[in-house]
Symmetry: C2
Subunit: 338 residues, 2 copies
């Protein structure tokens, strides 16, 4: 019955006609251009409201060459660390008015990272955050000639790309120093997989603390972050009578260690003290509650978006920076004086 059945959503021209102005004036109102008469502005705003107009961001992106979308490349967002980091990134980005497009990698080899980056740039993202905790990923990043502002999270030397990370070395040192201060002769270590930079950093901090105290560093036991690998390391440690203190590279493996100790009748902290890393929500309720090192993933996410936006919105690409977030020591009951 009506003159024009409106099937498709209204566009700027419709608003313009409704308000009796040109489409450009509508655009000006939308972009808060100062030189629009107040009376005109309200008329346009009313028309927008009446028609339920919403600006087409795709068309806008085509002409401005900015999508207000940021890409995130991450490895296995099921893990607590990456999940928390991505969450922090997402919150910070949205607060700044940006969308987040995400790619979770299964394998972090050069092609994987390359494909993800291509995929995102094709989509027209304004910038990319790569959560690159593995050496190979960081290397891929360093090699790649990317035309889009990029920031690496937890990456090592990632070429010219700025990096935001938690000070893993300091964390390892904190854990080890704590155990030494309790009077332990030396500290054993269950490390993460060798390709991971975080694992390396924690090993380095542990070694540094031992060296400074003039202690011998025992051979670290290998793990892969999983509770199971911690469990296996724990069985080995339980059979050694001279072990009194263990620094485990993450809380999940620490859980495995605790389980193995419990099975073998090794009391924690009476006979062996254990320190973890991450402070996952469960740690406080392990048996016993786990002393650990907390990482502020929220801060990492916020900082990475900050660095990225400065790169995007500022003109000159600042020198590759490295922003380090300090870890925090969390004292519970899995450690005791020797």
């Amino acid at each position: 019955m009506g003159s024009t059945q409106r099937q498709r959503p209204p566009v700027m021209a419709d608003v313009a006609k409704e308000a009796g102005v040109s489409h450009q004036t509508v655009s000006r109102v939308l972009n808060e251009h100062p030189n629009v008469r107040t009376e005109t502005r309200t008329r346009v705003l009313e028309a927008i409201d009446k028609l339920g107009y919403r600006r087409n961001l795709v068309a806008r992106a085509l002409v401005t060459r900015h999508s207000r979308t940021l890409g995130v490349v991450s490895f296995d967002t099921t893990l607590y660390g990456p999940a928390s980091t991505v969450y922090g990134i997402e919150q910070a980005a949205r607060a700044a008015g940006y969308f987040i497009s995400i790619v979770s990698l299964k394998s972090i080899d050069r092609t994987g990272v390359r494909d993800a980056l291509d995929y995102l740039t094709d989509q027209g993202v304004d910038g990319i955050v790569v959560v690159a905790p593995q050496r190979s990923a960081a290397q891929a990043l360093a090699d790649l000639p990317l035309g889009v502002p990029t920031v690496a999270v937890e990456g090592g030397e990632a070429g010219d790309v700025p990096v935001v990370c938690v000070d893993q070395v300091e964390g390892g040192r904190l854990a080890t120093d704590h155990l030494l201060s309790l009077g332990h002769e030396t500290v054993w270590h269950v490390r993460g997989p060798s390709d991971w930079l975080e694992a390396e950093g924690r090993v380095a901090g542990w070694r540094a603390a031992l060296a400074r105290a003039g202690r011998e560093a025992p051979e670290p036991l290998a793990g892969d972050w999983s509770p199971r690998s911690g469990y296996e390391a724990g069985r080995s440690l339980a059979s050694m009578t001279d072990v009194t203190a263990v620094f485990v590279a993450n809380d999940q493996m620490a859980l495995g260690v605790l389980r193995a100790f419990a099975e073998q009748g090794v009391k924690v902290p009476e006979r062996v003290s254990v320190v973890g890393f991450d402070d996952i929500p469960e740690s406080e309720f392990f048996s016993p509650p786990l002393t650990t090192i907390r990482q502020d993933f929220g801060a990492v996410g916020r900082h990475s978006i900050g660095v990225l936006l400065r790169q995007i919105e500022g003109d000159g690409p600042e020198e590759s920076e490295r922003l380090v977030v300090p870890p925090a020591f969390v004292s519970r009951v899995s450690t005791a004086r020797r």
Copy 2:
């Protein structure tokens, strides 16, 4: 020195000129239109390769009105369940050639869901997956007139929106039946927050199993999914001498219960049997390893993308369906015969 310094990336017209064809022919090659001579096609492909041309997806989206991007709205992707579901969704979407744009909600009220939906539709997504485990979110979804194909994950009655979910009732029944089959007189329950549909479903299953066995259902203890709330419930349960079996609504709370029991000297499974829900990676290494109900989040993610794509790519909006993924019982050592 060169004739034309190419600052900006090449566009279709550049490829066309290089290959000596029209831009439309280039478009046809890119879209795998059948009616292009093989010789022409290879010539275009060579030009694309030579120039390093990449199609501008924004311009494409403007004219096709399809962005090949799917929106995901989720609540706190730090939790294991949502994180795993989103991961599954992301993998399935990428396999189908779709991008994922994500919004993590802090609070799930009507405005929160509404804003997220607006935000995503503004961006021009082709479809939306709402991970809506809370009643309020599902309701918001039912109320909202949305112009975009949508699917709810773990949502209850979400109006006309199709739903993919794990059979929570069946899960609760599985857990309770298992405990009853071990000879326990009745089964206590630590439930999740009342606004959560998953919590309700598990309670319903627990009640149904008890009713079928002709047993009295004790008053369930309230929890909020966190280990701490489980710990508090555990302290209450430890003080009651007639408790021999507990079904806890998720593994994190079960951890808290186990911790409280350990502190109070209540042996599991000797004096009390405990069953959890989720099968998080840690559960196998709790003390004792936790008998629990596994949810296949990967399947949920795949199914939800499947339903969504059928809705997008198929023409008719099929009747609102409800796809239920069965849970699985995982036997460990936290339960024993009475």
